[in-house]
Each structure stands twice: as structure tokens, then as C-alpha cells.
Amino acid sequence: MKSKKRMNHVLVIAVLAIGYGLLTGCATAPNRDLDEARSEVAKVRSDPAVTAKAPVALYDAEKALKQAENSWSNDEDEKEVSHLSYLAKRKAEIAKYTADRNMAEDQLTAMKEDSQKALLKSKTEKVQSLEDELMKMKEYNPQKTNRGLVLTLGDVLFATGKAELNSGSQNNLYQLTTFLRENPDRNILIEGYTDSVGSEDMNLRLSLRRADSVAGFLAANGIERGRIVTKGYGEAYPKDSNDTVTGRQYNRRVELIVLDPGKTADDVRRNIQ
């Protein structure tokens, strides 16, 4: 009697012990998938690119790992622990891909900025070099003004009272046309002026015809018509006194203005006096 009772007690204790074991620590058998998940998350956690560029994705991965850890320490079904570990591993992968993508996009932005800077520099250098070349053409008395770079084609380039450029002048102008051809983004305004001798009307027409002559010469040498605007001002805007011979000669001129990049003739037109 006594031994049977004892055996029952032992059995009860044994069952309770097994139950207790199952409820707490027995199924803390290591789970290989969880170990892998821990290792993958640890990798991205310690990757400075991920912490910097994909902090939210990293947080998701940590959260998923925690879920797996909790299910493991709560003794949940091994299948569930492995499943949650798989999710955590994938989340870690996503964090790495996200960081890579964000870094690449940063690089893209930086490269585009560099490229724009280089292009701007190259354009600036080109502008500078054209203006340097034009400023060297002393025979045209080049002046940099707020209307643009002004070259003065003097009276000697034309036969007296005529609109056509004489052949000697044409030779001199070739170099100018080369520069203008090479810089197609610069527009050109050609303005003709006369002295005060003769009728206003006639001078107006002559001044315009001379400007047109120069324009025609440029066009014949490869400069698109669309870049050129001509204007005749006749006796207006004299440069010098009309009372002296030299003064009148100075006044008989055609001014060729190489406009600043992006400007058109309308931007710098004079008002008729």
C-alpha cells in the first residue's frame, strides 16, 4: 500500500516536471534558422552604409528578428520560429539592398552636379576665349560694353557713299566670321551710322544698306541669318563732331555687336532719337 502511493506521487511529480520543462526551457534547443537570422541582422547592423542610408529598413529587420527571438524563447512551434527567422533574414537582405540603392542614387546626384559644373566651366572658358580673340582685333577698336562686344567697321571699309564692302575689307573680315561661326550661340546686331552730310532720309537708308552689306557678308560665310539683326540709324548717335573731316569720318561707321550669350537684339535695341 505504502509503495504504491509513493509510486503514484513520483509519477505525478514526473509528469508535472515534464510539463514544466516543456513550458519553460526544454525546447530552447537551438534553432539553426534563428542563428542564421541573428548573424545576418548582425551583419547589416554593423554595416555603416546600412545604418546611414537605410535606418528604417534596418529597424524593420531588427523588429523581425525580435519577433523570431520571442517566439523561440516562448517555445513556439519550431516551424514558426524558423519561419519568423526566414522573414528576419529577408528583412536584413532588404536593408542591404536599400542602402546600396540609396548610395548609388547619391552618387548619381553628385556625378550630375559635377558634370554640370564641368560643362559650365567649359562654356565659360569658351566665352572667355572668343572675347579674348575679338578684343585682339585692334583694327575694329573692340569695346566691351553693357550692350555686348562692339566692333567698329570704319568708313574705309566701304567705297564713298556706297553700301558695298570693298574687297580689302572682306579679307580682313574673314577671321571675324570664323570666330562667329565657331560660337553659334552668340547673336549679332549690326548697326549702321552716317555723318550729317546729305538728307536724313538718304542717310537713314544708306546706313541700313551698309549694315545689310555686312550682314550679307557674314551670311555668305556660314553664319545663319537668324543670328543677325540689322538696323540703320542714319545721322543719329554720332560718335564725334560732324564739323570736322575726321569727325565726320568717325561718324560714318557700322557697329557690329557680338551680343552676350543668351541675348537677342531686342534686349539691347537703342531707341530712335
Partner: protein, 126 residues
């Protein structure tokens, strides 16, 4: 008789306790997870995920079919896990595709910039 009962009682309770402990209590159909998985597969960008991660997408689609079969069979735990797997796999495929595309864009831009630099240098030396 009394002694027998003491032993029997815990033993008969044990399977229920075990079932509870093992967590097999998921007897609700995972409708939300299935819906999420199906939408993710449908909305996956063909020019992105399909092109750059074809294998992951193929596996995801197969898993979705398996999940549907498990749903029909009433195996809700399996269905839920498969559906969750589909969701994370589609997300991974998209993240991978985005990463590859961004890296490719960098390479392409670098190549075209090199060409541009060469052209500029040739022009300047003329």
C-alpha cells in the same frame, strides 16, 4: 480508484496543454495575409522585379499557389506562413531590382561623362 484518477487526470490533460504550448492554436484563416500576398504579386512592376529578380518572383508565385491550396485544405498555419513568405520575397525582389537599376544608372552616367570629357578635351585642343 482515487489514486488512479490522480495519475490519469494530468495525462489526459497533457495533449491539450501540449497543443496550447506548441502554438497550433492558429485556427483562423489568414485572410489578410493572403490578400496582401496576392496584391503584392499583382502590383509587382514587370519592368523592375520581373526583369531583375525573375527567380525570386517565380518562387513567390509558386508559393502563392501553394498558399491557396493550403487555404482550401484548411491548413491555415501553412497558408499564413506561405503568404507571409510571398510578401517578404516580393519585397526583397523589388529592393534587389531597385538596387541593380541604380547601380546600372551610375555606370551608364560614368561612361557617358567619360565620353563627354574626351570630346571637350578634343575640342579645346583644336
Amino acid at each position: 480508484m482515487k489514486d488512479k484518477n490522480i495519475i490519469k487526470f494530468p495525462l489526459s490533460v497533457l495533449p491539450v496543454v501540449l497543443a496550447g504550448v506548441m502554438g497550433g492554436c492558429g485556427s483562423n484563416p489568414p485572410v489578410e495575409q493572403m490578400s496582401v500576398a496576392e496584391h503584392l504579386i499583382e502590383d509587382a512592376d514587370i519592368n523592375k522585379s520581373e526583369q531583375y529578380s525573375p527567380l525570386e518572383m517565380r518562387v513567390a508565385r509558386d508559393n502563392l499557389e501553394s498558399a491557396k491550396a493550403a487555404m482550401t485544405a484548411g491548413d491555415y498555419d501553412t497558408a499564413r506562413r506561405l503568404a507571409e513568405k510571398v510578401a517578404v520575397d516580393v519585397e526583397t525582389a523589388a529592393a534587389k531590382a531597385d538596387s541593380v537599376r541604380a547601380k546600372n544608372a551610375v555606370d551608364e552616367l560614368r561612361k557617358s561623362m567619360d565620353t563627354l570629357h574626351q570630346e571637350i578635351n578634343t575640342q579645346n585642343s583644336n
